[in-house]
Subunit: 414 residues, 2 copies
């Protein structure tokens, strides 16, 4: 495949998308939503081929379910595009203008990034979602999905590109790399000067491969080894409720709680009741010695447990004797995602929020809220665990940059 040709076409498309009015973009998103629904049969036919291959290749049932498309799931993809159409357009906003002593007016205008690359795995709904997010923000997008979903992705992209064309807009606003080889993926990651940013959406392996190989700027969407620290003064009923929610409401997600850090003075009151509830929910508890004594059935925690993102019905329990020790433990083992303290102590709450190094630091709430929709962004590109450009849940503005606009009246530099 000629990736350079695809990228140059995408850049041409971006020049046009960058100038579109919000109305033009929204109308096209609505047309794309309509086209997805109208194209249900074609998309299901492509998906049926992927499903057949998946079954032949003994794909795990969980992955097969993520690969499966149904009329309802296609309708959900369409609804996602309609919701994007309804959101405010961040492009063109001027973030204030300041007047310099020489009369120059200097402001920042929000503009698209340009050409966005997205590498993702087996879920074909990401195809429509990633396109919609990029299109709404005036970016052209080049998608590289996995081989497992290639027939589904081709069908979705064909349907969307036809709809884009019918709107009189360049189909290169959306491109799919149909060659699913590893070599092509690596080549894609090295397209410096062609891609403005590359976003991996998938598991830890994919993200590591992108960070390892990419020569273009990457926004890392990361793993979450999230901690909840129960402080000396915590409301223990609240602690139990929050921990149960953060651990068990959905276990396979990056904002789920993986580790409980508990102040030694509340062990005796908290752990018997909490461990009973966790056990009832099927959660295995891996505890240090100081905590294990207060837990019905605990597996001894090993050093490696402190750094683990289980994504499973498992939680580790670490005992500390101060908020400082809790903060140090968390800063040593966390992945910079979401951390919480349960406390009624003002100073400890402030210190925890200031000193814990993570994208999201909570007081008295569940880490499960780390999510673009829960934060009120109306859309989510992913959750960044890196520090540059975007950190935490990313809404549409993470797909934008700014440029300085300067209005003069003949000023020259003395």
């Amino acid at each position: 495949m000629n990736l350079t040709a695809i990228a140059l076409d995408a850049k041409d498309a971006y020049r046009i998308l960058a100038k579109l009015s919000s109305t033009e973009k929204n109308n096209c998103l609505l047309a794309c939503a309509e086209a997805l629904v109208d194209g249900t049969e074609r998309i299901l036919a492509g998906n049926a081929e992927d499903m057949e291959n998946g079954r032949k290749n003994n794909m795990a049932p969980g992955l097969l379910d993520r690969l499966l498309l149904t009329p309802q799931r296609i309708e959900a993809m369409a609804e996602g595009l309609r919701q994007l159409a309804a959101l405010d357009d961040p492009i063109g906003e001027v973030l204030g203008m300041k007047k310099r002593p020489n009369g120059l007016m200097i402001g920042q205008m929000r503009v698209p990034l340009g050409v966005v690359g997205i590498i993702y795995e087996a879920r074909p709904n990401v195809t429509a979602d990633a396109f919609g997010l990029c299109f709404k923000t005036g970016n052209a997008v080049i998608l590289k999905g996995g081989s497992d979903a290639i027939r589904s992705n081709i069908a979705v992209v064909e349907v969307l590109r036809e709809a884009i064309g019918r709107c009189g807009l360049p189909q290169s606003a959306l491109s799919l790399i149909t060659d699913t080889s590893r070599e092509t993926a690596t080549e894609f990651m090295k397209m410096e000067g062609f891609l403005d940013v590359l976003i991996p959406r998938g598991g830890a392996g994919l993200i590591r491969s992108v960070v390892e190989n990419a020569k273009v700027p990457v926004i890392e969407t990361g793993t979450g080894n999230c901690h909840i620290y129960v402080d000396e003064t915590a409301d223990l009923d609240m602690a139990v409720e929050i921990i149960m929610n953060a651990k068990t409401q959905r276990v396979g997600v990056c904002n789920a709680c993986e580790s409980l850090v508990v102040h030694e003075s509340v062990r005796e009151k908290l752990l018997p009741k909490l461990s009973e509830k966790l056990a009832a929910a099927g959660v295995e508890i891996r505890a240090d010695e100081e905590a294990a004594a207060f837990i019905g059935t605990a597996v001894p925690a090993k050093e490696e447990d402190w750094g683990r993102e289980y994504l499973d019905y498992i939680i580790s329990v670490k005992t500390v004797s101060s908020v400082e020790e809790a903060i140090d433990h968390i800063n040593r083992y966390n992945t910079g995602h979401s951390e919480a303290i349960i406390t009624n102590d003002y100073n400890n709450a402030v210190r925890f929020q200031q000193d814990v190094d993570a994208a999201c630091v909570y007081v008295n709430a569940s880490t499960r809220f780390t999510d673009g929709f829960e934060f009120g962004f109306g859309a989510e590109i992913g959750i960044s665990t890196q520090k540059l450009h975007a950190r935490g849940p990313m809404g549409l503005t993470a797909l934008t940059t700014t440029k300085y606009i300067i209005q003069g009246s003949g000023q020259v530099r003395p």
Copy 2:
């Protein structure tokens, strides 16, 4: 050299720096300024060795001048630190808090990046400057200077580290990689997980090498092929003044004008007068055929001239027949730095600022203003020509990130 040990020490230092009050940081910066002045003799002795080596190695006079330190230049380094002490501290600021329907309060707190790596070339004044910028923003910094300035850099770093130590703060806030081999430089660029960001400060070759080799996030400080477009309705006296300023006020800098784009309808009135002035200032003019007819002595422009950053007394001249053609030409050949239009037409001014893809887009002012001090930031880390994280002149906030802080009262996710 054990880069990992240096980076781990730097990370420990950052944990302490991140918690310092502004007063503690400012007092230390003032102590460092004092120490530089007091250490003048030691620093000059180190610099004398570098200068001797430079002369032995037939270093060019311009580079020798950039390498040279004098008591005045050391005083200027100290003054730079004093000015940083006087600036507002961006760390700890909370950028608003919003209340979600469930009562969660969500805000963003500005925090340090962590460990910043800076790779630079022969100018030893960057050593103190880079340290000061990072220290003020609570970051630990690891410097990798060039071999030409190694004795000067070692002396400056020793003096600063001693001063940091006297303030009771960790000397690992500032580290210098004294092994100036290429292998060590490459190893430094690949320290993912240890460096939060790497900033190259130097020429195009250095920046390309960093972008090519780095596995850590990079902030690219770039080259500038800056254009000035003189529109149909321009005030031609203003145009001449701005072009002369942007081209000749200082030719070796990234915000100098390298190319003039001129509307065909103003060629006849603008070019004879302008070319006379440019020639008098010793500027060579490389013009397309349509423009050459109106220029006293013009060298024919070749295709390659449109993409050149001369950094010299040379300017290219391109004729266009519309503002659209000017924008397309600029977007094709620019480096995304600074571009200007001279016009009195409202619509063309707006269109140029919206459609030109660059960090800074001017109407009726010199591109020479692209500079952190001129923009009112009080300090400058460099000028970013990339789109992620920071674009355009970078002040102290470019060395920071944010984290979400969330205040709850027991909220769990339904």
